[in-house]
């Protein structure tokens, strides 16, 4: 029999039992839809996180106090106040690979401008910070090395802070008060947008770290040192070198574990992605269980169908169908059911991904390869679970089958 005739036969017999076929295909539909959503959302989340991490800066390396998480137990990174300016100085003096390095002193404070107040994050940094984070000014200038050395009271505002304190004038050259100290505004930074964790990068005020340590009482330890290399290839070597330099200043002996962590942007991206991985795994579990259940559903219905149609099989065998013809007929039927379920699942998954993307704001990407694999796989489920019933049909004895009531 020709394939077109076979497919026509199969679809005809499926159409005769629409409701049953639809219910049978439900497992496949849900499975494929889950796969499509999973891949689309997973990809969307990943591209977004990558973009945000890249937005942090260029070839950036982050040093934080405390050892990295080991075996899931946090060492309490913020508990060790053990990064110091000595570390920064040593890196600046001795590092071969690091092109820029800056301590980051972090605080929060009320910033008072002429039009009102705004509570913001205050970062005390070095001039290199601008290079590391690749963050140009929108107007005015970044503060200078001279400002840092002289502990001058100058500040650079993030776009959000500038917009809130100076809604309708250029802040450059104006003054703001932070903890009752007047600061001259040297410049306003360009917009960077949200970070991977969803906070606003532009809600920030930068000032020389020297000034920050002098004027912002209390928090004087350094929670973070940022560094960067000129090109990407140098990053692993730079990380290695930074680790050695840090171990020297921290006087760690041969076997002592690091009491600090050196990470690059890739490490940060991977850490951020791990949260989406849970969701991906969950969807993958739903998908595989649905496909399995869907396959068993197809097998069950095909077995019922073979019994119901015993007489039909007998007639076909009597008028000259071979066992292989009957086998193919039933196999094509279950494949058609699988593929058709896959196609419906594709449409459902596609819409689901679009809706999810709309609400989360994630970009969802559905590649043609994923579609082909999804539909192909559901066809394969049809073959796998349809084979046994089809074999049963093909093995029927024509006389017995014709007598079947």
């Amino acid at each position: 029999m020709k394939t077109t005739v076979l497919i026509k036969l199969a679809t005809a017999s499926i159409r005769k039992n629409k409701m049953r076929a639809t219910l049978t295909m439900l497992g496949i539909i849900i499975g494929v839809a889950a796969v499509i959503v999973m891949v689309a959302v997973g990809y969307g989340a990943r591209t977004r996180i990558r973009a945000q991490i890249n937005n942090l800066g260029t070839n950036m390396i982050v040093i934080t106090p405390g050892a990295a998480q080991t075996a899931g137990v946090s060492q309490g990174a913020q508990a060790f106040a053990n990064l110091s300016l000595d570390d920064v100085d040593k890196i600046r003096r001795e590092s071969q690979y690091v092109a820029a390095v800056s301590p980051v002193v972090v605080s929060r404070a009320q910033v008072i401008g002429p039009a009102g107040n705004w509570r913001s994050q205050i970062n005390g940094v070095d001039v290199d910070y601008q290079t590391i984070r690749d963050w140009p000014t929108e107007s005015g200038d970044f503060f200078s090395a001279d400002d840092v050395n002289a502990t001058r009271k100058v500040a650079v505002l993030g776009a959000t802070v500038a917009a809130n304190l100076f809604p309708d004038q250029d802040p450059v050259g104006q003054e703001v008060q932070i903890r009752n100290v007047p600061f001259r505004i040297a410049g306003v930074l360009s917009k960077k947008g949200q970070t991977a964790t969803g906070t606003d990068s532009d809600d920030i005020v930068l000032m020389p770290y020297t000034t920050a340590r002098a004027t912002l009482s209390g928090r004087v330890f350094i929670p973070q040192i940022l560094a960067s290399t000129t090109n990407e290839q140098d990053i692993p070597a730079a990380q290695q070198e930074l680790t050695e330099l840090m171990r020297e200043t921290h006087r760690l002996a041969g076997n002592d574990p690091n009491d600090f962590t050196v990470r690059n942007q890739n490490d940060l991206a991977q850490a951020a992605e791990s949260s989406t991985r849970v969701m991906t795994l969950l969807l993958a579990a739903i998908a595989s269980i649905s496909l399995l259940v869907g396959g068993i559903g197809i097998m069950n219905i095909m077995l019922v169908s073979v019994t119901e149609r015993t007489r039909e099989i007998g007639i076909r065998l009597a008028i000259g169908a071979r066992g292989s013809d009957v086998l193919t007929q039933f196999l094509v039927e279950s494949i058609v059911m699988g593929v058709f379920g896959g196609l419906i699942g594709l449409i459902v998954g596609f819409s689901g991904a679009k809706i999810l993307g709309h609400f989360t704001g994630w970009e969802t990407v559905i590649s043609p390869i994923v579609m082909i694999i999804a539909v192909g796989f559901s066809g394969a489920v049809g073959v796998f679970f349809g084979y046994y019933p089809a074999r049963k049909a093909a093995a029927l004895d024509p006389i017995q089958a014709l007598r079947y009531e």
Partner: protein, 247 residues
């Protein structure tokens, strides 16, 4: 008479179900020539259906030889038997055995779809011609549930004819039909027979056997009687009488 369509020698069939053995056929010798219309008679359980299944290549004999249309059939494999059934044989059953929810034309087309001969034929055209031949040219797209028993049996006969087989086998084709429809179907068989088609049918009714050219009676797996029909009736004429009586 022309050459032999069926040549059977020493055909036996023994069913073994568990410990007991049923000797359904105990040695049949039978030759049927082209153009004959043979009625096989016998009491229930005498082995008629068993013989028809063997003649129809639906089953294989326990022993004996069977030559169909010049081809040795006993000892052939499953697929070869399927091809023989498809090309050389046409079946008509007591219960019509049409595919439900399938139109008359599609039912009649079916044997052509399983033909691997590679002949370039238009199944639909041939199916329509076969249905016209049995007088159902007006019922092409009707499903079995929309047809009377007699009409369903005509569709089944059209399906048996569509491949132009060497032999048409009918096991109690009128078993489910009333007297008038029985005569109608027999008139059709007689008409086809005069056109040269060889037909073997099983019946319990002497009235039906009277339309055949020859009667073979089976008892306990043996042929007991095998003779030409002396006063052969013409179904077409009987049909006129039946219609007169009704009027």
């Amino acid at each position: 008479m022309g050459d032999a369509v069926i040549e059977v020698h020493g055909l036996t069939k023994t069913y073994s179900t568990g410990a007991t053995e049923v000797h359904a056929l105990r040695g049949i010798d039978l030759t049927i020539h082209r153009g004959e219309l043979v009625a096989i008679m016998g009491s229930s359980g005498s082995g008629k259906s068993t013989l028809m299944n063997l003649l129809g290549c639906l089953d294989t004999p326990t022993s004996g030889t069977y030559e169909l249309d010049g081809v040795r059939v006993d000892g052939l494999g499953k697929n070869e038997l399927a091809a023989i059934r498809n090309q050389k044989l046409g079946f008509v059953f007591q219960g019509f055995n049409l595919l439900a929810r399938t139109t008359a034309v599609e039912n009649v087309e079916l044997p052509l779809l399983y033909d691997r001969g590679g002949k370039k034929r238009d199944p639909r055209k041939l199916a329509v011609a076969a249905l016209e031949r049995v007088g159902l040219g007006q019922r092409l797209d009707h499903q079995p549930s929309e047809l009377s028993g007699g009409q369903q049996q005509r569709v089944a006969i059209a399906r048996a004819l569509v491949t132009e087989p060497a032999l048409v086998l009918a096991d109690e084709p009128t078993g489910n039909l009333d007297t008038k429809t029985t005569i109608e179907v027999m008139a059709l068989f007689q008409e086809l027979n005069t056109q040269g088609i060889t037909i073997v049918l099983v019946t319990h009714e002497p009235d039906v056997a009277a339309y055949a050219t020859r009667v073979v009676e089976i008892r306990d797996g043996h042929i007991r009687r095998d003779e030409p029909v002396a006063n052969r009736r013409k179904a077409a004429e009987d049909l006129l009488h039946v219609e007169e009586d009704a009027a």
